[in-house]
Each structure stands twice: as C-alpha cells, then as structure tokens.
C-alpha cells in the first residue's frame, strides 16, 4: 500500500501507539499518510516523531496532520525529527558515494494547518528549518536543501500576515515622513 487515508477515524492517545509502530516499521513503499481531523495533541505528535526517528527507511512524501490539536511544541519536534532524518539520509548518501539528491529523503508536503500553532510556533518552525539548512551546508557541503518542499500552515499566519501588511504599507508611504518621526 502506498497511500493510507485515515482522516476523521478517531486517532487519539489510545491508538496512536499503533500508528507509531507502523511509522517505526514501515518500509519506504508508503508515500502518503493522512491523519487529518483526528485528536492528535502534542504528546501524540512527539510519539509519532520518535517513531519516525527510529525508522531508517522512512520515506514518506506527504504527511497530512491538519485539523488536529497540537501546538508549536509538537510541530517543532516533528520538523526537527524530519530534519534529522534527512541529515541521516545525506550522510548515508555521502558515505556510500551515491549520486547526490537521488536517494535523499525529502518530503513534498507536510500539512500542519488548522492546529494550535500560533505565531511563535511558526517562528520556531522557521528557525528549525534555517538551522538545519545552515548545518547541512556547512558540514557536508551540500547546498541548501529544504526538508519539506511545501508546509501547509493555513490559519496559523494571521498575525504575521497583518504584520507584513503593515510593513508593506509603511514602505508604500516612505516618501511622506510621518509627523512623529520628524520630531
């Protein structure tokens, strides 16, 4: 099976162990796992992340986790776990002299929207991604390679978007200096 859709099936703290066991032992054939609209909190997401870390063959390309109940803590743990998985795959690729970027683990979509991630969580995720890119480019000589091609963070960016909008407006009126700035 390459795609398994378990949206709205009642995945919660009681049965997350089964999903974690699956992620720990699953082969690289599974490409899409959807766990949208369940009751996955921070503790459950950390359990999943630990299971992913223990799996050498983890090659999921699409991981859907939207409409759950986890916050920035769980999301950041998941991102850093994925980063470590990719780093491991980079090391394997370097040690075995495999062609670059051919066998690397790179998730195409990670859906984290409609959770309890707030602005601080988004900033933390961005920080994780940035740190990982720096580490990879410094140590291994690889050019910056994103862990996830597309992170879906719907309804997490409300305040940030307002902030950027304000900045843009300020730039637009740059020519006219406000009276407060004039002193």
């Amino acid at each position: 099976m390459t795609k398994l859709f378990l949206d709205s099936t009642g995945v919660n703290s009681n049965n997350i162990v089964h999903v974690a066991n699956m992620l720990e032992n699953v082969s690289s054939s599974l490409k899409v796992l959807s766990l949208d609209n369940n009751s996955i909190g921070d503790a459950e997401l950390i359990t999943l992340a630990q299971a992913i870390e223990r799996n050498e063959f983890f090659q999921l390309s699409q991981f859907e986790l939207s409409h759950n109940k986890f916050s920035c803590q769980g999301a950041a743990t998941m991102i850093s776990t994925l980063a470590r998985s990719q780093k491991r795959s980079i090391n394997i690729a370097l040690n075995t002299n495999q062609p670059s970027h051919q066998h690397l683990f790179r998730m195409s979509k990670l859906s984290l929207g409609n959770n309890l991630i707030r602005d601080s969580g988004v900033m933390e995720i961005c920080k994780c991604l940035n740190e990982f890119n720096l580490q990879v480019s410094e140590r291994n000589g690889y050019r910056s390679n994103d862990i996830v091609a597309y992170i879906h963070l719907h309804l997490c960016l409300t305040k940030l978007r307002t902030f950027f909008a304000r900045r843009r407006r300020r730039t637009w009126y740059w020519g006219s200096i406000p009276s407060r700035a004039r002193g």
């Binding site: 859709f5 089964h18 699956m22």
Partner: protein, 290 residues
C-alpha cells in the same frame, strides 16, 4: 454643454470612437472564426480554453442519452445534485436525470462490452440497482474505473457487487464512498478483492465501517491506495491496518536484514510478536523463538 443637444460632447467623442472600434473588432473576430473555420461552439471553447463544463471533456459520444455508439469507451452521467451552469443547461435537457432513465442507460451498457469507465456517482441508486451494476461489471471485462459513490447501495448492494468484483481482470479503481456501508458490506467487498491483483485504489470514505470492516480490509493483499476517511474504525481497526503495514515491511525486507548487520556488529534483538494478535495468514512466521 454643447450648443446642439443631439451632438456628442467633444469630451466623449474619442471614447465613442474607441468603443465602436472595439465592437467592430469583436464582430469581425467572431465572424471570421465561425465562417472561415466552420467550427461549432464547443470546439471554439476548447480552442480558446474557456470555461468548459466537465461533462464535455468526455466527448459527444458518451453523454447523449440512448445514442451512444458501441465505439465509445466511457459512460458518464452528470451528477444531479450540482446545479448546472448556463452552458450545461442546454445539454442537460438531453438526459433528464430521473432514476428510470439512468437504469435504462445502464441497461444499454449491458449490451456493450468495451467500456472502460463507468461513473454513476450521485444517481440515487439503491441496493436493488447494484445487481445491474454488477452485471455491467461482468459484461465489461475491460472496465478499469467504476464510480458509484454518493448513492444508497448499503450492505446488500455491496454483497451483490462483490460477486462481480471477485475475478474481474481489469478493474483498478473502485469508488463506493458515501453509500451507508457498514461492516457487513465492507467484509463482503474485502473478501472479494482479497486476492485480486488488479484493484489498486479503493474509496470507502464516508461510510459507517467499523473495526471488523477495517480488519477485513487489512488483509487485502494488492491494494495501493485505501481511503477510509470518516469511518468509525476505532482502535481495533486502526491497530489492524497499522499491523498490516508492519507485516508488509517485514515481508519485503526479510532478505535484506543480513546485509545490514556485519559479523562484528552486535546481534540485533529479535522482534517479539504480540501473542494475542498473530498474523492471520502466516501465523507460523510470528511465533516467538523457542
């Protein structure tokens, strides 16, 4: 204000000239296309990538009621519940959406043996109609996609379908979501497709499948995509599906384990099986070591 009221104000004069010229250009453009190229409206829409209703994508042979030639390879009936746009409404009169006409059309399908796609989603089909669908399946051995979602087939319909699904040589995608199917229907379908190597995609979203159905689905061997969104498969069902995935991994990587560990490396711990939940098909593989 101009002195003569019939006269166009000089301010608006350039605007009038532009409007007139634009209209003339449009007229000339359409006139040129419809006269010189002799194309109809549908081809025009396709040429210029305008909003084409999705039913038109299937070609004219496939949606005219009662006049489909045997050469066409798809049966497509437009959904009833979605309000058609202005463009569709002209074509909509060709098929009145009554259930009797759908069944009549389905009866015509039975006479043809070269269909590849049947889409009967949202056609208010009931359990008794599933017999016709299963006959269509049996008669069309080249069928690859069968969509009968958003109907009311229920468990009886699934049981009727399962007879045709068992040995179908080419069906690769089956969509029976939102059909009020419970464990009984799911078990019937799962047992029918258990050893079917061609069926790869199974949509079962929006039904009332419980843990027994999920357990039965976990034993299907050749399935690649399984959609179980919105079912109440509970802890037992989730455990069964996840256990199935683990078993697959063990089955796949059995011959690679010796490559990962050298003689100098410490021996890996043997995997301890759960004695209460042995694998149903290969129980001997998961017995604890003596």
């Amino acid at each position: 204000m101009p002195e003569n009221r019939n006269e166009v104000p000089p301010v608006l004069f350039p605007l009038c000239v532009v409007l007139c010229s634009t209209q003339t250009m449009f007229f000339l453009f359409f006139y040129f296309i419809f006269t010189n190229f002799q194309i109809d409206l549908l081809t025009f829409f396709k040429l210029y990538e305008l909003t084409i209703p999705p039913m038109l994508e299937f070609g004219a042979d496939n949606f005219v009621l009662g006049a489909a030639p045997p050469s066409s390879s798809a049966l497509f009936l437009p959904p009833q519940s979605f309000p058609p746009t202005n463009l569709i409404s002209n074509k909509q009169s060709l098929f009145s959406n009554s259930r009797e006409e759908v069944l009549q059309r389905l009866g015509e399908v039975l006479l043809r043996k070269s269909l590849t796609i049947i889409d009967l989603s949202q056609r208010q089909l009931i359990a008794a109609d599933a017999k016709l669908v299963s006959m269509a399946l049996l008669n069309n051995l080249s069928l690859t996609i069968l969509k009968i979602g958003f109907n009311s087939l229920a468990d009886e319909g699934c049981q009727a379908l399962s007879l045709a699904l068992e040995d179908h040589p080419s069906l690769s995608e089956l969509e029976i979501g939102f059909n009020s199917i419970t464990d009984v229907g799911c078990v019937a379908i799962a047992s029918a497709i258990k050893f079917n190597p061609t069926l790869k995609i199974l949509y079962l979203s929006g039904n009332a499948i419980g843990p027994k159905g999920a357990t039965a689905l976990s034993q299907v061997q050749f399935l690649e995509c399984l959609y179980l969104t919105g079912n109440q498969i509970q802890d037992e069902g989730i455990a069964a599906l996840c256990r199935y995935r683990q078993h697959q991994r063990r089955h796949i990587n059995t011959n690679q384990n010796h490559k990962k560990h050298s003689l100098t490396s410490p021996q890996p711990n043997p995997t301890q099986p759960n004695p209460t939940q042995p694998n149903p098909t290969h129980t001997e593989t998961f017995q604890p070591p003596q």
